[in-house]
């Protein structure tokens, strides 16, 4: 207790700085995967992508980021076990932040594809297991998180498969795909607006003080869907169909119509990403803030402070603006195979899955989910070539990242304990 009273402000500042740094890293690196699909498919320029990402990542972090933050903050570690020594949780959360940050920095500089989500979860579990004790970990919660890492790519893949199949059946395989694209694309746009709004309303908005009935939520979601659809129809009507462009590749004009849908879907993806990944940076910060501000009350019921979410949002946008441009360009150039019709199916499937997970409070890897969705499109015979070796790399990165994050967190935990005394 004494330590908290003595160094409280220092801990707050440290947590804020580490959290901001983590959020910056997420913005610089991870956002690229959410936005590169639309840049790669030439639906957006890089500049437009940055602006859209900044707005929707921020909105996602603020509006729907609360649930996952809660999980990271108090879902993994059993706070009750620590009510007598809250400083342990403080050290632990700081150590976890530091560990995840260092690991990501190392991995990025070496070019290893690792997930922020896995780093932070591994780090928290690591310090709790060794620093506090096996009983301090909510194993069933951790179990469900790990399960969700398997389930989310599969689910996104299945959704993407059926979405792309429906696009094939309704539009691409028809005699006049242009007319059919004009007819059906607005429905898909509605679907994007409706699903994302609905999940956010049902699951995410409690912490900003909005508490609506289910019927109200559905009503607003339908309204949101309709508004977005209206904008979409307007945008489609402005597309100039130039049949001479179809001579070389017959689907050039169809893809132009899909580009509108792709833009909408990109917004949804940025929103989803913000809602899930911001928690990786600020979940531990939120835990530290609640302990310090309540003067050592570990299991405090105090709600998540909005300013913590803001911190995460600002960090992500800063990273995105400062560094993300280059990463988006690099990734975008490598995935030109993903034309708007395919990119939309993959991205919407991933966005839906991620937003659902966010609403349920499960921290998942956005990139892995997107990879699963791309595979779904591939299984629908929609992509010329997929390199399945990536799946092996994903498993490898799990196997390495979880213990690496954990061990680093343990080391930092003991260092902090030695410095401040425990």
């Amino acid at each position: 207790m004494q330590i908290i009273a003595e160094y409280g402000t220092l801990f707050l500042i440290l947590a804020g700085v580490f959290g901001l740094f983590m959020a910056w890293g997420i913005g610089a690196n991870d956002v690229a995967n959410a936005m590169a699909t639309s840049v790669g498919s030439k639906a957006l320029t890089i500049k437009q992508a940055i602006i859209i990402a900044a707005i929707f990542e921020f909105a996602g972090a603020i509006l729907a980021g609360g649930q996952v933050t809660k999980t990271i903050r108090k879902g993994i570690v059993d706070a009750e076990a620590l009510s007598s020594s809250p400083e342990l949780l403080l050290f632990g959360m700081l150590a976890a932040l530091l560990a995840a940050g260092c690991w990501l920095l190392l991995a990025s500089s070496k070019g290893w594809p690792v997930s922020t989500t896995h780093s932070i979860v591994g780090a928290i579990v690591g310090f709790a297991m060794v620093g506090i004790g096996m009983d301090a970990v909510h194993w069933n919660k951790v179990g469900s998180i790990v399960m969700s890492w398997v389930v989310s790519p599969v689910m996104a893949g299945v959704i993407a498969f059926f979405l792309f199949k429906s696009v094939q059946i309704l539009i691409l395989d028809k005699e006049d795909p242009i007319a059919n694209a004009k007819r059906y694309v607005p429905f898909y746009i509605f679907l994007v607006g409706f699903i994302i709004s609905l999940v956010t309303l049902l699951k995410g908005l409690k912490h900003v003080g909005l508490d609506m009935t289910i019927i109200q939520s559905y009503g607003i979601a339908v309204m949101m869907g309709l508004v977005i659809t209206a904008i979409g129809i307007w945008a489609i009507s402005r597309i100039k169909i130039d049949l001479t462009e179809d001579r070389d590749f017959h689907y050039t004009n169809v893809e132009k119509i899909f580009a509108v849908l792709m833009v909408v879907t990109s917004c949804a993806m940025a929103f989803a990403h913000g809602s899930n990944d911001v928690a990786n940076a600020i979940g531990p910060v939120a835990a530290i803030v609640s302990i310090v501000t309540s003067g050592g009350e570990v299991a405090s019921k105090s709600p998540l402070s909005i300013w913590v979410l803001l911190l995460g949002g600002v960090g992500i946008v800063a990273g995105l603006v400062m560094y993300g441009k280059r990463v988006i360009a690099t990734v975008g150039n490598k995935i030109t195979e993903l034309t708007p019709s395919r990119g939309f199916a993959a991205t919407l499937a991933a966005a839906t899955t991620v937003v659902l997970a966010s609403g349920t409070g499960l921290p998942i890897s956005t990139t892995h989910t997107l990879v699963g969705a791309v595979l779904g499109v591939g299984i629908a015979r929609g992509l010329a070539a997929l390199n399945l070796a990536v799946i092996r790399n994903i498993f490898m990165s799990w196997i390495i990242t979880l213990p690496a994050g954990g061990i680093l967190a343990i080391v930092f935990f003991y260092i902090l304990q030695a410095i401040f005394g425990g």
Binding site: P177, V331, A384, A385, N393
Partner: protein
């Protein structure tokens, strides 16, 4: 910082464009058969040598492309069509160019000439064989559209009709070949026997250009049949 490589890593190098480039090269090579036989008929040895060199060069370039495609199709690649079927199409494409090279080489090496009475028929025959190759190229050019539509629906019907047309052209070349063979048969007693042997061989090889083109179409059909 290369975290994004996850996502881009999953996209293999699409073989579609390279396949089309290869076919383009093959067609460029085979097109040279028209000036080649023109030079044979006109007994223009200079341009014959030039055209032969050109054919040989184009065939070599097609070969290089073929090797590159094969190298970029590792067995772990997940594609909408079977890898083996795709490689069969590639092999067939390459055989067309090989045949053109054989024809040019044999003609130049043996300093061959065509009997005057078959000259006009032979022009038509070569032209039709080159048409077959061009039609095969049209079919291969639909590959990216086929991938776009997931090898289903209206696009498949279109490709079927392109392949149907290819079969028709190949049928024409068969008829022309029968006609030319008969004309050669009628005069073969008056020609040196070894020359006649090689004349028949050239006729057969020319027909093979259309044959292999048609086989490109039928291998492509295998990709559709599922």
């Amino acid at each position: 910082m290369a975290v994004g490589d996850y996502l881009s890593g999953i996209f293999g190098k699409s073989p579609v464009k390279p396949m089309q480039q290869h076919m383009e090269k093959v067609f460029a090579c085979v097109s040279e058969l028209v000036p080649l036989f023109e030079a044979v008929i006109e007994r223009d040895l200079d341009s014959l040598a030039t055209v032969q060199k050109n054919i040989s060069k184009l065939e070599g370039e097609a070969d290089d492309l073929k090797k590159k495609i094969r190298l970029h199709l590792p067995s772990g690649m997940f594609m909408p069509v079977s890898r083996r079927d795709l490689l069969e199409v590639l092999t067939m494409q390459d055989k067309i160019a090989n045949t053109a090279k054989d024809i040019a080489g044999t003609i130049l090496g043996r300093n061959m000439s065509l009997p005057d009475i078959i000259a006009d028929d032979y022009r038509a025959f070569v032209k039709r064989c080159v048409d077959a190759c061009e039609q095969a190229q049209v079919a291969i050019n639909e590959l990216d559209e086929l991938v776009e539509t997931g090898f289903r629906g209206h696009e498949v019907k279109m490709v079927q009709s392109i392949i149907g047309k290819l079969d028709e052209i190949e049928g024409d070349t068969d008829k022309l070949q029968v006609k030319i063979r008969y004309k050669v048969f009628e005069i073969e007693k008056d020609l040196p026997p070894v020359d006649v042997m090689f004349l028949y061989r050239i006729i057969e090889l020319t027909g093979d250009v259309a044959d292999h083109s048609q086989k490109v179409g039928s291998r492509l059909q295998l990709l559709l049949a599922r």
